[in-house]
Subunit: 338 residues, 2 copies
């Protein structure tokens, strides 16, 4: 059934080595022989066995990206950047979705290592996971995407979340808001902590105390949690209620926005909203959301470049790259007069 190089060799009347050369070093083979061998290959429907090739070569020509949450548009854009860069090389990219679960992440990482993939990109559930060190220690290059690690044992790319938080808060303060809600959680997520910290920094710089920021904790960064947060926020007596909300990501902001509209709270007049990530749905919302944009594609592209370098540059040095976020102002924080 399965036809291998040997069958091709026999059918074309050449040796195994020649068939292999047609595949891997076409220049070493005379045009006539090559044509004949290629003809036979397509006649017989030959499909090279990548396992055998890998076994010989020691490594495969495949990269993998272990995504934290494939349904979050933020990550699909990062993936797009990765794919774009990888596609230019003669490599393929497989994607694995850990879905925020440590066990699945580990299962995938193990499988990938067993497959001897050329390298792995990963947005880990826990950036300090020891598994990552073990694997790269054994020789599989790993690049960490969108997370920062305490020890610099890998390449990584990330965005400055403290700065992002600061940008969001400064924007709201500039607009004259004095009472702001920070909506996000759980704080085990580094991103959430950093964005919150950035808001506090901005407050401090403005000479305002921390009291001006009301923290509303959420169980996750989802639309549903955004709706729940809205209920808690709107439950506050209108006198003391914040006039603006900064959400740790756009999904929360979308949920918040929806619940506000449903409750007759006008956005931005009664409540200004800032999101984070600037996913496509943020700009496309009925009240387009102001959001902090991260260079998502660029994140993916850079991560892939670092990995490619680590894969085939013998004197590669680990790098930690941090990008700068940017505020995109839209209707959800438009000035009241407008």
């Amino acid at each position: 059934m399965a036809v291998g190089v040997k069958d091709i060799a026999v059918a074309a009347g050449v040796s195994l080595g020649t068939v292999s050369n047609v595949l891997n070093h076409p220049d070493r083979v005379s045009a006539r022989t090559r044509a004949r061998v290629e003809q036979v290959m397509s006649d017989l429907g030959f499909v090279p066995n990548e396992s055998a090739r890998q076994l010989r070569a020691g490594r495969s020509r495949t990269l993998a990206y272990v995504v934290l949450d494939a349904s979050n548009p933020f990550f699909t854009d990062v993936s797009r950047g990765v794919e774009e860069t990888v596609a230019e090389k003669d490599l393929s990219l497989f994607m694995c979705n850990s879905d925020n679960r440590v066990d699945r992440e580990n299962a995938y990482l193990t499988r990938l290592e067993e497959q001897r993939v050329a390298g792995v990109l990963v947005t880990p559930v826990d950036p300090d996971s020891q598994t990552l060190d073990l694997i790269s220690g054994r020789g599989t290059p790993i690049v960490i995407v969108d997370r920062i690690r305490s020890r610099e044992t890998h390449c990584s790319v990330a965005v400055d979340d403290v700065l992002g938080g600061r940008l969001a808060m400064e924007h709201l303060l500039d607009l004259g808001h004095q009472r702001v809600a920070f909506i996000g959680g759980p704080s085990s997520i580094g991103q959430v902590r950093d964005r919150h910290q950035g808001s506090l920094d901005a407050l401090e710089d403005a000479g305002l105390s921390e009291d001006h920021l009301t923290r509303i904790d959420t169980a996750s960064l989802s639309i549903g949690e955004g709706r729940l947060a809205a209920e808690r926020l709107l439950g506050i007596s209108s006198k003391r209620r914040p006039t603006a909300a900064f959400c740790a990501n756009d999904l929360l902001a979308l949920g918040l926005l929806q619940q506000c509209v449903a409750s007759g709270v006008r956005v931005p007049d009664d409540l200004a909203i800032v999101g984070y990530d600037d996913i496509e749905y943020a700009g496309a919302a009925a009240v387009p959301l102001t959001s902090v944009r991260q260079p998502r594609m660029r994140l993916g592209r850079t991560a892939a470049e670092l990995l490619l370098d680590e894969v085939d540059n013998p004197d590669h040095a680990h790098q930690q790259i941090t990008f700068t976020p940017e505020l995109v102002a839209r209707a959800s924080t438009a000035t009241r007069s407008a």
Copy 2:
């Protein structure tokens, strides 16, 4: 550097075969030997080489899903269903994103065949692509997801799009709308054709002529195209303008909704909107969208089950499974009086 079974065997003072047995047939090995070998494995950091295993076994224990568009939430939900089912077995799942491009789809399929994956799920750009036949003809099982094929040479799962189109249109007709726009394209996509056809069927059943349906063609099924469609729709003089729009998917509907809100057109009062797919963002929109829901997870689960059957059931028979869609009514088509 790399430690293999041989190194383990030497270090543990046993033969190659015994090490292999510890891995694959633990019951054949005495408890004492097994413990010793396992100890050595973890001491030395042994990671089995999957390529070599595969080479011997002939097939890998990996499945793959070639997704049409990883950034469309519809497909991420289908993937979730697939993953769920696959995770129950001792198999892993890789995802590939063809991004609607035939060349990438083919590149991935080729790679997967070379890797000798156990089976492939695919939502193809062109359901009648010949590549699919070639590959399954050579022995790699393929299941087609969310598309229908003219010839029944593979298993496939899909949703009845003609019925979905009919449900949407009947809903609008029930609400008293007489002039409706169908927004979607390009019509090279079978789904778009079917959903349009379903609307026509509903019209006919209601005894109305095709004139009651204005078709607005789009270049793709994206939010941006939805906005463009809105401009064309709103350009029609208010006398002749449709009072409702049925969009071929939710992304179009979201774009349409946004542009309407921005232009001061009230939804649903001035224009009722029905989307398709019922992605999470549809229900979470500022004016929650009425949409036609497809059993996305179920689609994924069923596809995976069919594939698993084809993989390890010798007398597997191809099946074409069609699911039934369901209308979810929300605010975007609420009755005017409400």
